[in-house]
């Protein structure tokens, strides 16, 4: 039972980790905390619901189109809302991204309604028995997809020119622009990439919980917790932190109380921010 909870926690945590990765990428590149990051998940959840369930498109096509549209949305958000306020004080940035979040979630409300929608389990939720451990295929699929994504992200950032340029921008915008890099275009692309990751997280999340217009903000907060636990600004840290949040949330829901699991997570976050603001892992 314990191992089952751990695996479910890792799957959920991987999703938080994806959101946290996108969130951290944006923070590193544009010095903006994107409270609208969870809305990319919400929108792509609704998109795949429309394409796959309502219109009956084949799943891979619906999947690709949804995350691509999510990426396009990310680029648009960057161009219209984030670029004009870059470099402003934190409060301005916070209100702007909250404005984006309010706009997107309320737009979704009048397009798709306020009720949560059930999403069919495409990856299979029939438990399999394996050496006394009950495995749910869906969780394994999620862990597999996220691992594949993380490995390809690694090759993207360290192996391709675009990836290297993105890292340069994240490290030092001014120097990057002196080297002839178009910082604005790169930040736009980073937003697109983050939104694609958020979109993927939203699609993986849809069969686990449901699709609804107000899932964005809680997701962002959990992702933020993950990012803080892993040491804010570190990409591997964001992913690991997300997984830690997922596991601890699952265990506390199972062993303590599911009504209070969010209260517990928030309290843990506040405690970490106060006592270990640099994250739980030692960094060189």
């Amino acid at each position: 039972m314990f191992i089952q909870q751990i695996i479910a926690g890792v799957a959920m945590g991987g999703i938080y980790g994806l959101v946290a990765l996108g969130f951290t990428l944006i923070w590193n590149a544009a010095a903006v905390v994107n409270f609208a990051q969870g809305e990319f998940c919400m929108i792509s959840g609704f998109l795949i619901l429309t394409f796959f369930v309502n219109w009956g498109w084949p799943f891979p096509m619906a999947f690709l189109i949804s995350i691509l549209l999510s990426g396009v949305l990310g680029v648009i958000v960057e161009r219209l809302a984030i670029r004009p306020i870059r470099g402003a004080d934190p409060l301005t940035a916070i209100i702007t991204t909250l404005g984006v979040s309010i706009f997107l979630s309320n737009s979704a409300k009048f397009v798709w309604g306020t009720h949560p929608f059930h999403f069919p389990s495409v990856f299979g939720d029939k438990p399999m028995q394996m050496a006394k451990i009950t495995l749910i295929p869906q969780n394994l699929w999620i862990i597999g997809i996220i691992s594949a994504l993380v490995i390809s992200l690694y090759f993207f950032f360290f192996g391709t020119l675009t990836g290297k340029v993105m890292r340069a921008v994240a490290q030092d915008r001014q120097t990057a622009s002196l080297m002839g890099i178009s910082v604005n275009r790169m930040i736009g692309m980073i937003f697109g990439l983050s939104a694609i990751m958020g979109g993927l997280a939203g699609i993986l999340l849809a069969p686990i919980i449901y699709v609804a217009a107000d899932i964005g903000l809680p997701l962002v907060l959990k992702a933020f917790m993950g990012a803080v636990i892993g040491g804010f600004g570190s990409l591997p840290g964001a992913l690991i932190g997300g997984v830690v949040i997922g596991i601890s949330e699952n265990l506390s829901a199972f062993y303590i109380s599911s009504d209070y699991k969010d209260v517990i997570s928030f309290a843990v976050l506040i405690a970490i921010l106060i006592f270990k603001p640099a994250g739980l892992f030692l960094r060189k």
Binding site: P84, P90, L91, I94, S101, D259, I270
Partner: protein, 314 residues
């Protein structure tokens, strides 16, 4: 000129219940409550420069404290509102302590989490708070046989507390406390170097701010006579923050104007119906991009007829 202007506005406010119909008077009462909330949040965010996105939590603590005292033990409103302020102040100190360690974005997340925790607690502690259904039949305040049971009479009560909040925070701004808050906002390190106990003043800012928010909560509960956790959402915290940003951070009268504008806006934009909230989001982005310093200071920058006189003079 300025004094007579203020006097005229005061007289208009005082005579409001005599000539204003029922519904606008109800709006005026609600605006008054939000004026208290905005002015109180301005103490933390505008004066002391600490970002807070959990102000609705103090509003909730005040409302539930005075409600529970009145409903469960029959304690009169006049003690209840004071208790609401004090309990809320205690929570303010509790939230103020993290501000010593975290700032800016971390602080905004701590305050969001605090607000959500309080709301979740209100929903889950069903035996005390009535859970999601809330608490009905909160009595209207009464004194010496006179009950504030009509909106007309309650209006004066809210007006009194709103003016009290406005003028005491104006006074606070000009006191040594206010100057200490401003110095922390402008440069915390420098403030510390010249001997200002930044720790003490930051907690104090949260404490004072949450005290007023607690008063607002108590007034709200006794005015609408029904509360549930939906009245104290994260959305309310954002709205109040937007009120003070629109009014111009640190500007007390700006917060008052911001509260009036943001509270009345949905009333005038009724035709937008369910689109309103989405338009509100766009409006926020627009505000942040084009008039970051708030409407009051943007309006001040427009040379209202002053240009002609300067042309004559120049």
């Amino acid at each position: 000129m300025k004094k007579s202007c203020g006097l005229v506005i005061f007289l208009i406010l005082l005579s409001f219940p005599l000539w204003v119909p029922h519904y606008p008077l109800h709006l005026a009462c609600m605006v008054g409550i939000f004026v208290i909330l905005a002015v109180s949040l301005n103490i933390v965010v505008g004066f002391a420069g600490q970002i807070s996105l959990g102000h609705a939590a103090f509003f909730a603590v005040g409302a539930y404290t005075s409600t529970l005292l009145a409903v469960k033990w029959g304690i009169p409103f006049w003690f209840g509102i004071f208790a609401a302020g004090i309990v809320s102040l205690a929570f303010g100190i509790l939230l103020g302590i993290p501000t010593l360690r975290v700032r800016d974005i971390y602080l905004s997340v701590v305050t969001i989490c605090f607000g959500l925790m309080v709301q979740l607690a209100l929903v889950n502690l069903e035996s005390i708070t009535g859970g999601a259904r809330g608490i009905y039949g909160i009595p209207r305040p009464a004194i010496a046989g006179f009950s504030f049971s009509t909106p007309q009479s309650f209006y004066y009560l809210i007006l009194f507390f709103a003016l009290l909040t406005i003028f005491s925070s104006l006074r606070l701004l000009r006191s040594r406390f206010g100057r200490a808050f401003l110095s922390i906002r402008e440069n915390e390190l420098a403030a510390e170097t010249v001997g200002i106990r930044t720790t003490y003043y930051k907690i104090l800012a949260f404490a004072v701010s949450s005290f007023y928010a607690g008063l607002a909560g108590s007034l709200y509960a006794h005015y609408v006579s029904y509360i549930n956790p939906d009245a104290f959402t994260f959305g309310i915290s954002i709205d109040v923050l937007v009120m003070i940003v629109i009014g111009g951070l640190g500007n007390v009268w700006g917060s008052v104007i911001g509260a009036i504008v943001i509270f009345l806006l949905p009333e005038y934009l009724r035709f937008m119906q369910q689109y309103y909230r989405a338009v509100f989001g766009i409006g926020l982005i627009f505000m942040m991009v084009f008039m970051r310093s708030g409407i009051v200071s943007t309006l001040q920058k427009i040379p209202w007829g002053r240009s002609s006189s300067s042309r004559v003079g120049g």
